[in-house]
Subunit: 341 residues, 2 copies
């Protein structure tokens, strides 16, 4: 089968890989319908994370082709959406809603690699969720978004306690930040301030529910948020970048007692000054999103045409052109790109 | 009147200061019944914070001697307990329960100084809470504790989501950590693990409700907590120290999805690696405790003899001997010391 490999930074190719086989009785083999390139895939692309002929991809939707003997909730032919982290969905941590930190957690990106024709998904019952039926083609991008960026933005909005009567500010106008806007809207937020300097992303943010746009960054951005919130700061802030600057921007934009939901993958060297954290007096929650917690609800919202997160994909290419997809993402010519199979 | 001054690091004396007067119509003048020395007073004592003939003290109980024209909820003769932060208790931030970050917030320690015969308390209606009557002498230490260490330990336990069915670990065996143990017990925690290497503090922790003691620190302490919690970590962790080591210990001791309540005053230079924060996937909340939020409830619990936080005071001296009190706290000969007036 075909598999996208990142051979080295800025060196992506589509190669051959053996078809996956059932290894454990809890496995399923899926044939991918669509996959995509994540903002986090750009870290190794840019040389910030190690990479060496690594099979890429951790976002996926597809059709179940084969199941192990112990798989109970899925059958061959089911259309499924899966999380970017494998989970058994039954351990104490999963039951508490933290499937991304399951006792059996495994990042799909590490070994599985869903930028491919097929993939072996361990703990299929705990990781995959079947859609109510075979989806119309127009729903595929939205279902694919649920696999990571939508689930991650949703988790950030929940972690930021977005809801009725709340003002939510979103730091980061990438796909996850934009999904955070959509999630805040769905969760009933009264006012949603998107921080973005790019006209196309601003337009998409407004479409997803943003009521205000702040183009300023850093201290100026914080001052603008304060100005829009009677000097208090937002109740809820979504941090969807993961840099030192974005963290401090989030702290500054949140009122005392408010909530920050952070999902930007923080890298080594980024640190939070404990005295700023102390005197900010905010609630802070985040990490790798437990997408599995939200998948049933998100799939239903998509199925019922209540949300259209698939709009975040502004570039679609066949799998063979994966390398061009990486370049487009890296150069920010695309917010999020979909690879067709 | 008499006032304790810290002239310079390790140089404490009792000097003369003009009696306070009503300045604003919302002020009250109180005559102190008791006051005490806080762990945070040791920062300037040890030269970590600037100090220059500074009037000291921010914990206090006393009797109202005079009120401004606009004070409505208090009358002369009332026995009152006040928070270590002035608050109007009416702004939007106060109403959300964050009186320590009130629009009119002012640290009592900065200018007022309650290690003295009297003190002027601004926003008296919003800062002070009257007890149901004149307290018996035996209740004074407990009421004094409510002013800061109990209120702070209580906030930490609430921020850590301590409650029924929860395992709570407490990092720090100072007065605040011990009050965190007491609070976790009152909030219904099933299991309370106190981290302490000192026999006297371990004994007090057990008296306040600790079910387990862990004497190990750092990685070994974390391993021990994991061992006691099926490898998962505690649901709730109270961080009551404020150092880099204690923060990392708290992260390590908390299960994914768990809560850390942190109240140890973090100082410049202490920082939290964002990647550790990200992958710990915990809830983090803390800062200067909004003691005013909890005062009515804490006073009632003390009044009804349901809790006895005053036991945390293991040294009592007259105000004149304040310097000896600082030395005893600094040398850890006293957990918490009370100054009688």
């Amino acid at each position: 089968m075909r598999q996208v490999f990142m051979n080295a930074p800025r060196d992506v190719s589509v190669g051959e890989r053996d078809d996956p086989k059932i290894v454990e009785p809890t496995d399923a083999i899926i044939r991918l319908t669509a996959t995509c390139i994540c903002g986090s895939d750009l870290w190794p692309y840019r040389g910030v994370e190690d990479v060496d002929h690594t099979p890429m991809g951790h976002e996926y939707v597809g059709v179940v082709e084969e199941i192990g003997d112990e798989v109970k909730t899925l059958k061959v032919g089911d259309f499924v959406v899966g999380s970017f982290v494998i989970s058994d969905n039954s351990c104490e941590i999963c039951q508490a809603g933290y499937q991304s930190r399951c006792f059996h957690a495994e990042f799909v990106s590490a070994t599985i690699g869903t930028q491919a024709d097929k993939a072996r998904i361990p703990f299929a019952d705990g990781t995959l969720v079947a859609t109510p039926g075979q989806p119309d083609a127009e729903l595929i991008p939205s279902l694919l978004a649920a696999s990571d960026v939508l689930g991650t933005g949703w988790f950030a909005a929940v972690a930021a306690a977005a809801g009725p009567d709340k003002t939510v500010a979103v730091v980061g106008d990438g796909a996850v930040g934009l999904m955070g806007v959509l999630a805040a809207k769905q969760l009933g937020a009264e006012r949603i301030i998107a921080m973005s300097r790019h006209a196309d992303r601003q337009a998409l943010a407004r479409e997803f529910g943003a009521t205000d746009i702040v183009a300023e960054r850093g201290d100026e951005g914080v001052a603008k948020i304060k100005e829009l919130t009677d000097g208090l700061g937002a109740h809820s802030v979504i941090e969807a970048v993961g840099t030192q600057e974005s963290f401090l921007q989030a702290f500054g934009a949140t009122r005392p007692g408010g909530h920050i939901g952070f999902v930007g993958v923080a890298h080594e060297g980024v640190s939070i000054p404990a005295d700023e954290l102390f005197f900010a007096e905010v609630h802070l929650h985040g990490g790798p999103a437990p997408v599995r917690r939200f998948l049933p609800e998100l799939i239903q919202l998509i199925w019922d045409r209540k949300i259209n997160p698939g709009k975040v994909f502004d570039l679609t290419l066949p799998l063979e052109q994966a390398a061009e997809g990486y370049t487009a993402m890296d150069e920010r010519r695309a917010i999020k790109m979909l690879l067709e199979l």
